[in-house]
Amino acid sequence: MSFLRKVLAIVWKDVRAELRTKDILSSMLVFAGLSVLIFQFAFDLRADNVRLVLPGVLWIAVTFAGVLGLNRSFILEQDRGCMEGLLLAPMDRSAIYFGKLIGNLLFIAVVELLLLPLMSVLFNVSLLSPTLVLVLALGTLGYAAVGTLFAALSINTRAREVMLPILLFPVMIPVFVAGVQAVSGLLDGDTLADIAKWIRLLLAYDGIFIAAAMILFDYVVEE
C-alpha cells in the first residue's frame, strides 16, 4: 500500500503541475492536431482511399506528440534538481518509474481522446469503436512504458530532444506494426477475433517491457 501511495503521489504531483502550467498537454495537442491536418490535406490530394493511410496517420500523430510529452515530463524533474529529490526519498525507485509512467499515459490518453473525434470528422470515418480504443490503449501502454524509461535515460544527455526518438522509435516497431495492422483490420470490418494475434503481440510487448523497465529504471537514474 505504501508503494502504491508513493506512485499516486508522483502522479498527483505531475497532474497538479500540468494543470497549472499546461506545458505538456498544450504542446502535444497542438502538434497532434496540426500533424493530422497536414496529413489530411496531403492525402486528400493523393490517396483514393483514406482508410489505407488512416491507421498510419493515427499512430504517427500519437507517437510524435507523445515524444514531446515524454521529454517535457522529465524536464520538470530536471529543473532545480527535482529528480535528486525523488532519488533521496525512502522508496523503491520503481515507484518513480510507475508514477511517471501513469502520468505520461494520462497525458497521451487525453491527446488521443481529442484526436479520435477530430480524425473521424476530418477523414469521415468512425474511429470511436470500443475495439479500436482497446488497441490504441494497449499500444499506448507499451509506448509510454518504453518511452518513460528512455526519457529518463536521455534527459541527462546534451541532445535530449533528438536522443529520445533515436532510442525509442526502433524499439517501438512491434507496437507500430501491431497497432497499424489491428486498426487497418478494424476499419476493414474485421472483428476482435480477426485481430486477436495483433492484440496478443501488444499484450506480450506491454508485459515484457514494463517488467524490463521496472528492473532497469534503477540503473538508468543512478549516477
Binding site: 504531483k13 527535482c82 535528486e84 533521496l88 522508496m91 523503491d92
Partner: protein
C-alpha cells in the same frame, strides 16, 4: 552517527576522494571546508546515497549505506546546490508531495510547523517560481527537515543568499543543530562556517587535512590555518 572509513571515489581514472576517514557522533555539527574540486559535494552525495563509492565504507547509525535498503534514506535530510523543489507547485503542495513520499505521519500539522519554522506560512499558497532565492532556500530546508531526519547534510546552503537571508539561515541552522540532530555542512564562508558548527574540517586534494573543534577558534585564526592548509 556518520562513520566514513577509507573512502575512495574516482570518476574514471581521476580520483576525487583518496581515503577519507571521518566520524561524526550524534548531535554534532560539522563544517566541511575546502577549495572548489576538493571533493566536498562528492562526499555529501555519497553519504546521501546519491553517488556510489569506489572503495571504503560509509555507515549511518551503524548501517552500511551500500547494504541497507531504501529505508535508510529516511534518516537523511539533504539541502544541496539545487533546492529540489518544483517551480510550478506552491510551497504547500511541494511539502505535501514530499511528505507523502516520505510517509510523514500527521502531515498537515507537521507541514504547518515546518512552514512556521522557515518563515513561509504567509506564502504557503504561492507558486515557487514567484519566490526569491532566499525563500526558495528556506523551502528547500523545510523539505529536508519535513520528515524530521536525525542526519542533515547541507551542501553550501548559504550560496547566493544576501546578508539578511544568511542571518535567517544561521538562526534556522542553530535551531536545527540543537538537540540530537547530526549536521554536516559545506560552505566557502569560513567565518560563517565556524560560527555554525562545533567542529571544522578542511578537505583538500581528496583528503581531510585539518580537523579541530571550533570552540575558541577565531575567524582570523581559522582563515590563516585555511590558507596554510590549502595553500592559497
Amino acid at each position: 552517527m556518520i562513520h566514513v572509513s577509507k573512502l575512495v571515489k574516482a570518476f574514471g581514472r581521476r580520483p576525487v576522494l583518496r581515503g577519507v576517514d571521518l566520524d561524526v557522533p550524534a548531535g554534532q555539527s560539522v563544517a566541511l571546508f575546502g577549495p572548489n574540486g576538493a571533493g566536498k559535494t562528492t562526499l555529501i552525495r555519497i553519504i546521501a546515497g546519491l553517488s556510489k563509492l569506489t572503495a571504503g565504507r560509509v555507515t549511518l547509525g551503524g548501517q552500511d549505506i551500500q547494504r541497507s535498503g531504501d529505508g535508510l534514506r529516511r534518516y537523511i535530510g539533504v539541502v544541496s546546490h539545487n533546492p529540489l523543489v518544483y517551480d510550478s507547485l506552491t510551497a504547500e503542495e511541494n511539502l505535501q508531495f514530499f511528505g507523502r513520499i516520505y510517509d510523514v505521519p500527521e502531515l498537515e500539522p507537521r507541514l504547518k510547523t515546518v512552514l512556521e519554522q522557515v518563515g513561509l506560512t504567509a506564502r504557503r499558497k504561492d507558486v515557487v517560481r514567484t519566490f526569491s532565492r532566499g525563500m526558495i532556500q528556506r523551502l528547500a530546508i523545510a523539505r529536508a527537515i519535513l520528515h524530521d531526519p536525525p542526519i542533515l547534510l547541507l551542501d553550501e546552503p548559504d550560496t547566493g543568499l544576501d546578508q539578511q537571508a544568511a542571518d535567517m539561515l544561521r538562526t534556522l541552522l542553530a535551531d536545527l543543530g540543537s538537540g540530537d540532530r547530526t549536521v554536516l555542512l559545506t560552505t566557502h564562508n569560513l567565518e560563517r562556517g565556524i560560527e555554525w558548527a562545533d567542529r571544522a574540517l578542511i578537505l583538500n586534494g581528496g583528503r581531510i587535512c585539518f580537523d579541530a573543534p571550533t570552540a575558541g577558534l577565531s575567524g582570523a585564526e581559522f582563515r590563516r590555518i585555511y590558507s596554510d592548509v590549502v595553500g592559497g
